[in-house]
Symmetry: C2
Subunit: 257 residues, 2 copies
């Protein structure tokens, strides 16, 4: 049995609460948040508190609060030598107060409150300042059905940065496509199967091998037509930059990765 | 029963051949390609030819050859007043020789030879120069399990352009993410569930509502950190442009689409 307390009541904290609650090998000791309002609806299921001095012993304290609040909250903890782990992709493990054993338990997924997520699709990146703490965090991840990956600080930072490209930036390309279709009064819905297939394709082959289209073929005629169609300068700039990026990747020497 | 002949033997032609062949309400009259080699393995299943003069009557001739070859091939057809449809997203319907009835049967998906595709995930965009030809092409699409959409030239062009954003450009962002992770020796695989979830999310909510991350929050600290981490100037340029694009979309006035 792993005993856990959760600190914070946002998207990540709430998803973790739900899966910890349904695990038979994890016991949630307490759920802390600075304001009790967010926890009110859960008080029949778990002991809630807004007072750090009330925190009882637990194998691990998961700090799932806003990036900027992690360091301050860790300083306020009224105990030492216990294991604490934040859930951020970009905050350093050393930003946690060193009076406790420090770790990161970073779920590399996009969470929204109220949107269920299959935990087997949530890779957990684990980083610790002390080697001895890895097994417990790995076990915690596995017991909720996640794949876990031990990473170092540089690797976690690289993953977080790469996640911005495949999540936030990709989603913005979807948004631009939405604007382009809307302008001609045609349904964005027609693009949805292609969006899924594009994501599906790279599950089994590399993005390098999956690439197709006018930029890869260096089909100047089509590229020129497209640039003419794009009346929005901003869309044009994205078209030009990503076309040149594809040309750079697939230009001169063919590569096999 | 709809009778069809296919012209061309590439990705699209081959996929269409397979699904037409398995339909009980479609009969493939002939399969033409300029060289017979690509058709050799199918000659027991269908009548193949490399001679346009051999083409027999059919309800529709599907021209699935390279964009640049469509116009020339349509000119060489030795008959008139029959229905011919090309499968390109970017070639005008008027590029087809006007001695025949002209149409477009554009599958908005990404096809690769040998990669099976679920036809219910292939929207077919239909355009015709004569109204009377719409029902037959709609029926043809439906009989192979596709959703069909009647579009005009501008709409098809907008869809093709938008498809470049959600397919080619998105795939290039995956590629950049691959480069970023590779550089730190961390597996690109860890990002795959996030790639899928990002595509999944916009199946039910708009890309506008699905957006999250540092650019949307205007989290200057994280953006600065990320730009410092990106040693590749090219990756930096993409980061900057897409961050500013997200800010533009989500800046000043909140919108609800
Ligand atoms: N959302 C995701 O998709 C995702 C994915 C992976 C990792 N993460 C990371 O997980 C952590 C939490 O993210 P989230 O999306 O769950 O955040 P969120 O939904 O915005 O919730 C933030 C939580 O932090 C608390 N908080 C904010 N400022 C605080 C302060 N000064 N002192 C104490 N508590 C404070 C808030 O308390 P109140 O309820 O009182 O406001 C709230 O419970 C972040 O480090 C984030 O980088 C998020
Ligand atoms: N691939 C996709 O994902 C996709 C999706 C939607 C629409 N489309 C459109 O579908 C059409 C075909 O694309 P594809 O990907 O199937 O092409 P492809 O795999 O590259 O095959 C091209 C075909 O065109 C033939 N061809 C090329 N030049 C020719 C010429 N001058 N005269 C006669 N035949 C010629 C080739 O014949 P040989 O075998 O003799 O070389 C080959 O059969 C294009 O209009 C494309 O825009 C493609």
């Amino acid at each position: 049995m792993i005993t856990v307390s959760i600190l914070g009541a946002g998207n990540v904290a709430t998803h973790l609460f739900e899966v910890f609650l349904h695990s038979e090998t994890i016991k949630i000791v307490q759920w802390y948040n600075r304001s009790l309002r967010a926890l009110a609806m859960y008080q029949d299921q778990v002991e809630t508190t807004n007072n750090l001095n009330d925190l009882k012993p637990a194998d691990v304290y998961i700090i799932a609060v806003s990036d900027d609040a992690i360091s301050g909250l860790s300083e306020q903890l009224p105990f030492k030598n216990r294991l604490i782990a934040h859930t951020s992709g970009s905050v350093s493990v050393y930003d946690l107060d060193k009076k406790n054993r420090r770790a990161v338990f970073y779920p590399l997924q996009t969470f929204s409150k109220g949107v269920a997520i299959d935990m087997s699709a949530v890779p957990i990146c684990i980083e610790t300042t002390e080697k001895q703490d890895v097994p417990l965090l790995k076990a915690l991840g596995k017991q909720i059905g996640c794949h876990t990956h031990k990473v170092n600080s540089e690797q976690r930072r690289a993953l977080h940065l790469a996640a911005v490209f495949v999540n936030n930036f990709t989603n913005q390309l979807y948004r631009v496509a939405h604007e382009i279709t809307e302008q001609e009064g045609v349904e964005f819905d027609i693009l949805k199967p292609l969006i899924l297939e594009t994501a599906n394709k790279v599950q089994t082959i590399s993005p390098y091998l999956a690439q197709t289209g006018p930029a890869k073929r260096n089909d100047k005629k089509t590229i020129k037509k497209h640039l003419k169609l794009l009346t929005n300068e901003h869309h044009q700039a994205i078209y030009k930059l990503l076309t040149s990026s594809i040309k750079k990747t697939h230009g001169s020497i063919p590569r096999n990765n």
